[in-house]
Symmetry: C2
Subunit: 351 residues, 2 copies
Amino acid sequence: MPTLQNDLFLRACRRQHVERTPVWMMRQAGRYLPEYRAVRAKSDFLTMVRTPELAAEVTIQPVDLIGVDAAILFSDILVIPEAMGMHLVMEEARGPRFPMPVRSAEQVDALPVVDPDRDLRYVMDAASLVKRHLQGRVPLIGFSGAPWTLAAYMVEGGGTKNFSAIKEMMLDEPATLMALLEKLAVSVRHYLEAQIAAGVDAVQIFDTWGGILAPDHFRKFSLDWIADIVGRMNRGGVPVIVFSKGIHGTLKELSTIGADVVGVDWTVDLAEARELVGDRVALQGNLDPAYLYASPERIRQEVGAVLKKYGDGPGHIFNLGHGILPDVPPDHARAMVRAVGELSPAYHRRG
Amino acid sequence: MPTLQNDLFLRACRRQHVERTPVWMMRQAGRYLPEYRAVRAKSDFLTMVRTPELAAEVTIQPVDLIGVDAAILFSDILVIPEAMGMHLVMEEARGPRFPMPVRSAEQVDALPVVDPDRDLRYVMDAASLVKRHLQGRVPLIGFSGAPWTLAAYMVEGGGTKNFSAIKEMMLDEPATLMALLEKLAVSVRHYLEAQIAAGVDAVQIFDTWGGILAPDHFRKFSLDWIADIVGRMNRGGVPVIVFSKGIHGTLKELSTIGADVVGVDWTVDLAEARELVGDRVALQGNLDPAYLYASPERIRQEVGAVLKKYGDGPGHIFNLGHGILPDVPPDHARAMVRAVGELSPAYHRRG
């Protein structure tokens, strides 16, 4: 593999000096880009995920089109439950669905642990292909859903407002839920290790639904399993990013489990977050994704506000506080990236 | 008016000694009750809201059927925008909608400030009727939406995941949004004052959507306006409860604006919240509403956990961390109320 030409992202993950703050966007390979929609028009979402050439193509699009400092592999967190044998249906209007959700101890027992090299080979192939195409221009990030978030989808079976099924399981059948989370934790760990072996330069664990839990239950049913993965994982020296959305009260604890970077959503004050985590981890975030609906001038102002909140010195990776929204004008994403490039060097002058 | 026979709720609001922790539930006059659904089967939601006899009937149902320590007036936060002349459509499946949302400075200019005694007389009539029917059994709580939350509905026009329209207005047309918020703040204040004049024993300001904002914007566009209302309101000695959902980082500030009680959602650790607010306010909350899906035995355990988090002494009003969900079995709500009654006296022994 060629040496990285732009390693700002990796240096920031390691809290090393950078000349400017690196920037990428969660869900940057996505529907807001007309070039993505052109690929999507010719094949459905899951075909794109499973076809390394297509996945690689859309993975690289935002590097070319938006100018981000890292690529993130185009895929979906639900490939793991699917690899466990669950039938996954993707409908744009209704979101992803598992028509046969997991609800009983017997169903959990019957689920296999994922062997990523056998069951998710297409992901590793896509990662290798992206690395080859990128030729070291920027690093590639691999990812997985966190066990709790994956379990929520598997037990609920689809979109939900109240998470009634998984919360009922959590309270009335905690051993069943724990057995499911353990299988997921082993699967996620092996999956991330396989991605690292395939050449990704960093990995992120997404816990989209961590924030629906009361803090004590978040610790037990989500955080502890993320910590288990991070603690046991053979990382081969690549940085690990953890992102639980909506968990203000447990952010500090998330910074103590051995990850290199903690993602922060936009409802957290980044200055407070930095104070909470000290020098244990770098922070990634946290512009409100909806701000990309505003004018480029206002976006620039809000980028400035986020950079100022983090303040001087290393350890900040600029990102949105959650995924980029599908109807944002690409020019607005470019305005954000440009503003980070222009406004951030002031925070990285040495001495 | 007869003297209150059960004033536990009011004493807890004032942080006075109680023999046990009082309990009520947000949205307790609602669809989970078959007796409510029987009334609803005969008239649509808005007719129920506008007919004092029907509103009074369902307001009192949970006092009789569940045994809560306070009644809350059956109504809807959207009566204010409706009284400003916005056409409101209520569809069970899609939720409330304003087919003609407010998007421009001209539209905001054209909106009148609400005169509650003229425009919302039916609410005050319902409040008086409830007071008469209750005969002092328990206190009656009046309420309003917070300006930010009302503005979000008025600008978005209905259910939304991303709040793109109001956030765009907030960034690109802040003066327009501020003009709207000011009209709403005056309307809400007069509305709450009219409810107090009609006899309610406490009022609550609901800020359902406060938590979608970054902290600095929450302060400016939501908190400051709630503070304005609480600061100027002629309360006639009745306690004021403020509840912003999902605002962990600004909970402490919410406790400093002169309200008597701060509501806390279930994602906040109640022990931490108590430490944050000190002896400035009482706290109301915070069982995860989804826990009422679990078995009565588990509900009892979780009630015990919430009571223990708050700990000894006065100033706790037991509630859910958000509204009761429409498909919860009434027996589970009763199990919660019973558990509070049985487990809480241990936390109120004097000396």
